[in-house]
C-alpha cells in the first residue's frame, strides 16, 4: 500500500466481497492469459519521497545552475523575471488539480481567468478574438496555416525564411500531413522578408492561402508589416509575435493581420527546458467559428448573474470529431493563468516598461559588442527588439565556451542554422548593467 492509494487490505477485502471476487487478480481475468504472462516489470523498487527528492536534486544539478549562469540565450525562449505572485496561484490545488472546465458551475475560477486571458491576448495582438491556448508558438502558427487553408480553400503557403527554424520544421511537418505546399520567402539584404520576391510570387499566382511570418523575426529584427495585407489580398496574413515586444510595437492587428499567434512563455512562465509552452492564437472575429481549441464566452445563469462557459464547442473534436477545427483537447491552461497574472501584475505601463528595459539593454550591449574589433552586427539595416545577431572573429562555439567559464551563457551559435561565425544574443530586463558589462569584459579578454 503506497501513500497515494488509500485501500487497506481490509478495504480491499470488503470491496472484493461486494464484487463477488476473492482476489485483485480476478479483476483482470478478462485479459487473455497470454498477455498477462508476457508482462515484464521495469525492475524499479519503490522509493520514498525523501529518496526521490535526493535523486532529482542530483539530476537537476547535472544541468547548468541558473543561479550561476547568466543567460543570454533566446531563440524563442527568454529568461524574463517571474513575478512571485504567479507561482503561488499555479500551486493552488483548485487551479492545479482541476480538469478542463466542462462543469462551469464549479469552474468559474478557471473560466474567468481564461476570459481575461483571451481579452489580453486579443489586446496585445490587436485582434478581435483569441482562443484559450494552444500547445506552443510553433503549433499555434501551424494551426493558423490550417485555419487559413479552411477559409481560403488554398493549399500553397508562403513561409518566411526569417521564421524561427524550429517553427519552420513544425510547419513542414504539419503541411506535409495536410497536403499543403510551403514556399520559402527568402531574406532581403537586411535580414527581413524579401518583399520583391513576395510581390512576384503573389502576382504570378493566385493559389496562395497565406503568408506565415514572425516579428521580431528569428534574428530579432522587427519586420515592417505595413502594406503586407494589401499585397496578400485574399491570402491570410499570419504573424507570430513575441508578446513582450507588444509592449512597444504596433500590434499586427493594426497592420491588417488576419491571424496572430505567438509564444507565451515569456509572459511569466519558466524556460523549463523548453516545455510546457503556451501557444497564443488570436484572429479576426469573422473567423471566430473557425478557431482551433477551447474558447470561453460570457453568459448568464438562471438568475441572470454573469458567468462564463466554454462555448462554440461545435467546432471541437468531442462534438465534430474528424471535422473539428483542430484535434486539440488538453491545452495549456495553467500557463494561460500564469500569463494572465503576469500581464495583470505589470499592468498597462508595466508591460511597456519591461519591453523598454529589454530594448534599451539589448541595444546597449549590441552597440558595445559591435564596437569591439572583429565584431559586427550581422544585420545593421533593420531595427531589432531585444535579440540581435553578431558576427564574431572566432568560432562562436569557442566564444561560448570562453563565456561559459565566466558564468555566462553567451547566446546561440547560428552555425548549426547555416549562419557561420554568427552568434544570436538575447537580453531581457533581468540582466543588470553589471552582467552586461561582464559580458563585454569577457569578450575583451578573449584572445582572438
Amino acid at each position: 500500500m503506497s501513500e497515494f492509494i488509500p485501500h487497506t487490505p481490509q478495504d480491499q477485502r470488503q470491496m472484493l466481497q461486494t464484487i463477488g471476487l476473492s482476489s485483485i487478480e480476478e479483476l483482470f481475468s478478462d485479459i487473455p492469459q497470454q498477455i498477462l504472462q508476457r508482462y515484464r516489470p521495469l525492475g524499479l523498487e519503490p522509493e520514498s519521497e525523501l529518496e526521490v527528492a535526493r535523486h532529482l536534486r542530483a539530476l537537476a544539478k547535472k544541468n547548468a545552475n541558473p543561479d550561476e549562469n547568466i543567460c543570454f540565450i533566446g531563440g524563442g525562449i527568454y529568461d524574463h523575471y517571474l513575478p512571485s505572485v504567479i507561482d503561488y496561484f499555479l500551486q493552488r490545488g483548485e487551479f492545479l488539480t482541476a480538469y478542463t472546465p466542462y462543469q462551469p458551475e464549479i469552474s468559474q475560477g478557471t473560466l474567468t481567468v481564461l476570459f481575461e486571458y483571451q481579452t489580453m491576448v486579443a489586446e496585445l495582438t490587436g485582434m478581435d478574438v483569441a482562443n484559450a491556448s494552444l500547445y506552443d508558438g510553433s503549433t499555434a502558427l501551424a494551426e493558423a496555416m490550417l485555419l487559413a487553408r479552411r477559409v481560403s480553400g488554398r493549399s500553397k503557403f508562403l513561409m518566411a525564411q526569417s521564421l524561427n527554424p524550429n517553427y519552420q520544421a513544425v510547419l513542414r511537418t504539419y503541411a506535409w500531413a495536410a497536403d499543403l505546399e510551403l514556399i520559402t520567402v527568402p531574406l532581403d539584404r537586411n535580414g527581413q522578408l524579401d518583399r520583391s520576391f513576395l510581390r512576384q510570387r503573389l502576382n504570378s499566382n493566385d493559389d496562395i492561402g497565406g503568408l506565415l511570418m514572425q516579428t521580431p523575426n528569428f534574428w530579432g529584427l522587427i519586420e515592417d508589416l505595413s502594406g503586407l495585407k494589401e499585397l496578400l489580398g485574399p491570402a491570410l496574413l499570419c504573424v507570430s509575435v513575441n508578446p513582450i515586444a507588444a509592449g512597444l510595437l504596433e500590434p499586427p492587428g493594426a497592420c491588417g493581420a488576419d491571424i496572430v499567434t505567438g509564444e507565451g512563455q515569456v509572459l511569466g512562465n519558466a524556460p523549463n527546458f523548453g516545455g510546457p509552452l503556451l501557444g497564443l492564437f488570436a484572429c479576426h472575429k469573422s473567423y471566430l467559428r473557425q478557431l482551433p481549441g477551447h474558447v470561453v464566452g460570457r453568459t448568464v445563469d438562471l438568475d441572470e448573474r454573469t458567468g462564463y462557459v466554454m462555448t462554440l464547442q461545435a467546432r471541437e473534436q468531442h462534438i465534430r470529431r474528424e471535422r473539428a477545427t483542430s484535434n486539440i483537447c488538453t491545452n495549456q491552461t495553467l500557463l494561460a493563468l500564469a500569463s494572465t497574472i503576469y500581464l495583470a501584475s505589470l499592468g498597462r505601463q508595466g508591460l511597456r516598461r519591461v519591453a523598454e528595459l529589454c530594448a534599451q539593454k539589448a541595444h546597449y550591449l549590441a552597440e558595445r559588442i559591435a564596437a569591439l574589433p572583429g565584431y559586427a552586427l550581422r544585420w545593421s539595416g533593420a531595427p531589432f527588439f531585444n535579440e540581435f545577431a553578431i558576427t564574431t572573429p572566432v568560432a562562436p562555439q569557442t566564444l561560448l565556451d570562453h563565456l561559459r567559464r565566466r558564468g555566462i551563457l553567451g547566446g546561440l551559435s547560428l552555425e548549426p542554422y547555416g549562419d557561420g561565425q554568427t552568434l544570436l544574443i538575447a537580453v531581457t530586463e533581468r540582466r543588470s548593467r553589471a552582467e552586461l558589462d561582464a559580458y563585454l569584459q569577457a569578450l575583451k579578454e578573449l584572445k582572438a
Binding site: 492509494i5 524550429n166 501584475s345
Partner: protein
C-alpha cells in the same frame, strides 16, 4: 469583500495602479525612437488591468475558491483519470536546474534533463512493451497526430501512400481519435461495437482490406471494457498490413500488469497526465508521448534523446526519415519531470497497485450502482464503467444528475460520452479514492435517484449552492462575447 458575480480583473483597479515594480534602467537611456523607428511603435499602451498587488492577490484567491480540483474531493470524471497528484512533484519540477534550463543551452549543460528524458523514455517503452519512445508530443491528441503521421510516413516509404488511406475507429472512440487521423490526412471509417461493447473480430475481418493503414483502439475502451478479442483484432489488422494504434489514455487500468505491445499494438500513446499522476492544471499542460515498434522508429520526430557510448546523453537530429518536428522543443519537460518522479516513487509494485486499485474501485462502484441505475454493458470493467442516466424519472436527464451531484459536494462524472450509450454517465473513481469516498458517492447517487422520483425539480434546478447556477450555453454560442468588455 464579496465580489460581484462574473467580476474580472478588468473590473478592478484604477488608472495608475500596478502590482509589480520594475527596476530602473541602469544603462544610459536613449530615446526609444532612436532604437526603433516611430512608425513601428505602438501608439498607446495596451489596455491591461491597473491593479495593486493586494487587489490582484484577492481577485485570484477568490477565483481559486470558485474552482473544484482533485484536492477538493472525489473527481470521478470518466476517461480523465483524475487521481491525486503527489505534492512533492511540484517542488521537484521547480528545482532551479530544471525550471531554469534553457532548451538551447547545449547538451553538455543539459545532462540532467537529457538523462531524465532518456530514462523516462526507456521506462515507457518497457511499460508499452515496445521499442522506442518519443516524449515530444504535448498531450494525448498531439500524440495521436504524431502516431498517425508515423503510419503515413511508413506507407510513403513503402510507396503505398495512395493505397493506405483508411483508419478504422470503433464508434466508442474519443473525439480526438478521428480528428487526429483526419489531420494526418487519413479517411476515417467507423467500426461498430457489438452488444458486448467491443469490437467483433468477425465483423472487423469483413471490413478490413488493403486500403486499411491501421486501427485506433482505446484499450481498455471508453466503456471501461478490455477488448477480450484484442489478439484476434490485432492479428486481423496485421494480416491486412495495417498498424494497430493503441490510445493509451486508459493505461491506468492495466499498468504494471499488461503491455499493449504484448497484445499487438504497434504504437501506444501515453497521457502522462492521466496514468502517471501529473496534475491537469485546469485543462493542461499535460504531456504526451508515444512508444512504437521498430519498423516505425526511423520516422520518429527529431530530436530523439539518446545515450552515447561514453555515457553522455545527446539529442539526435541525424534522422533523415523522420517526420520532423511536432513542437518547438522537446516536449512538456516540466510535466515529464513529475511523471518521472511518480514512476520512481511507485516502482513496479506501486504501478501494479495503481491498476489493481483503479479496477477494484470501479468494479465496487459498478456493483453497487447497477442496483440503482441502468448499466448497459454489465461485465467486469476496468478503471471505469458507463451507466445510463435515462429512465430514472420522466424529464430527468443525465445532466440533471450531474448537476445535482455538485450539491453533494462531488464532481460529476463525464456525461454524454461515449456516444454509444444513451444518456451516458462515465464513472472513473481512480485508485486514489478511498472506500469511504466511494461509499459517499454511492450514497449521493442513491439519494439522487430517490429525489428524481420524489422531487425532480431538485435535480432539474441543480446546482443550488454554487457561485453561479446553471449557465445559458445557448446564449453564449448565439451571441458570443469572448473578450472584455462586451463587444
Amino acid at each position: 469583500m464579496s465580489a460581484k458575480s462574473g467580476q474580472t480583473i478588468f473590473d478592478l483597479g484604477r488608472p495608475g495602479r500596478y502590482a509589480l515594480s520594475l527596476p530602473e534602467l541602469d544603462v544610459s537611456a536613449r530615446p526609444i525612437e532612436t532604437l526603433i523607428p516611430k512608425r513601428l511603435l505602438r501608439q498607446e499602451a495596451p489596455r491591461l488591468p491597473e491593479v495593486s498587488q493586494v487587489e490582484l492577490v484577492r481577485h485570484y484567491t477568490r477565483l481559486a475558491t470558485k474552482n473544484y480540483g482533485v484536492d477538493s474531493g472525489i473527481y470521478p470524471l470518466g476517461s480523465c483519470t483524475m487521481k491525486y497528484n503527489p505534492r512533492i512533484n511540484e517542488q521537484l519540477a521547480r528545482l532551479p536546474g530544471f525550471a531554469g534550463a534553457h532548451p538551447l543551452q547545449g547538451e553538455a549543460l543539459s545532462q540532467g534533463s537529457l538523462e531524465l528524458l532518456y530514462r523516462l523514455g526507456r521506462w515507457l517503452s518497457v511499460i508499452a512493451g515496445l521499442d522506442e519512445t518519443t516524449l515530444q508530443p504535448a498531450a494525448g491528441a498531439h500524440s495521436e497526430l504524431t502516431g498517425m503521421m508515423l503510419i503515413r510516413r511508413y506507407f510513403e516509404a513503402q510507396g503505398q501512400q495512395e493505397q493506405r488511406r483508411l483508419i478504422l475507429l470503433p464508434d466508442s472512440a474519443h473525439g480526438t481519435n478521428p480528428s487526429s487521423a483526419h489531420l494526418a490526412g487519413f479517411e476515417v471509417q467507423e467500426v461498430s461495437s457489438d452488444e458486448r461493447g467491443m469490437v467483433d473480430p468477425v465483423a472487423l475481418a469483413r471490413q478490413v482490406d488493403e486500403r486499411v493503414a491501421g486501427i485506433m483502439l482505446t484499450v481498455p475502451n471508453t466503456l471501461g471494457i478490455f477488448e477480450s478479442d484484442i489478439l484476434e483484432v490485432s492479428e486481423i489488422i496485421h494480416r491486412a498490413g495495417g498498424f494497430v494504434y493503441c490510445d493509451g489514455a486508459n493505461l491506468n487500468s492495466i499498468v504494471g500488469r499488461a503491455r499493449p505491445g504484448d497484445f499487438g499494438a504497434d504504437i501506444v500513446h501515453f497521457n502522462l497526465h492521466k496514468t502517471f499522476g501529473t496534475p491537469h492544471g485546469s485543462g493542461g499542460p499535460g504531456a504526451g508521448g508515444i512508444a512504437v515498434e521498430k519498423r516505425l522508429v526511423p520516422y520518429l520526430p527529431v530530436p530523439l534523446v539518446v545515450r552515447r557510448e561514453d555515457g553522455q546523453y545527446a539529442l539526435d537530429y541525424q534522422r533523415p526519415q523522420s517526420i520532423g518536428r511536432l513542437q518547438a522543443f522537446y516536449g512538456n519537460f516540466a510535466v515529464l519531470v513529475r511523471a518521472y518522479a511518480y514512476i520512481r516513487m511507485l516502482g513496479d509494485a506501486g504501478l501494479r497497485e495503481v491498476s489493481g486499485g483503479a479496477v477494484l474501485g470501479a468494479n465496487y462502484l459498478k456493483e453497487r450502482l447497477k442496483k440503482i441505475y441502468r448499466l448497459p454493458y454489465d461485465r467486469l470493467c476496468k478503471h471505469e464503467f458507463v451507466l445510463s442516466g435515462a429512465g430514472l424519472a420522466p424529464e430527468v436527464h443525465t445532466l440533471d444528475i450531474a448537476k445535482r451531484l455538485i450539491d453533494y459536494g462531488i464532481h460529476p462524472p463525464t456525461i454524454y460520452f461515449p456516444l454509444i450509450v444513451h444518456e451516458a454517465l462515465m464513472i472513473e473513481p481512480t485508485e486514489t479514492s478511498s472506500l469511504e469516498e466511494l461509499d459517499e458517492f454511492v450514497e449521493a447517487m442513491s439519494q439522487i435517484a430517490k429525489e428524481a422520483q420524489e422531487s425532480p425539480e431538485l435535480l432539474q434546478e441543480a446546482p443550488h449552492h454554487t457561485p453561479v447556477r446553471r449557465l445559458d450555453d445557448v446564449r453564449a454560442a448565439r451571441h458570443p462575447v469572448t473578450v472584455w468588455p462586451a463587444g
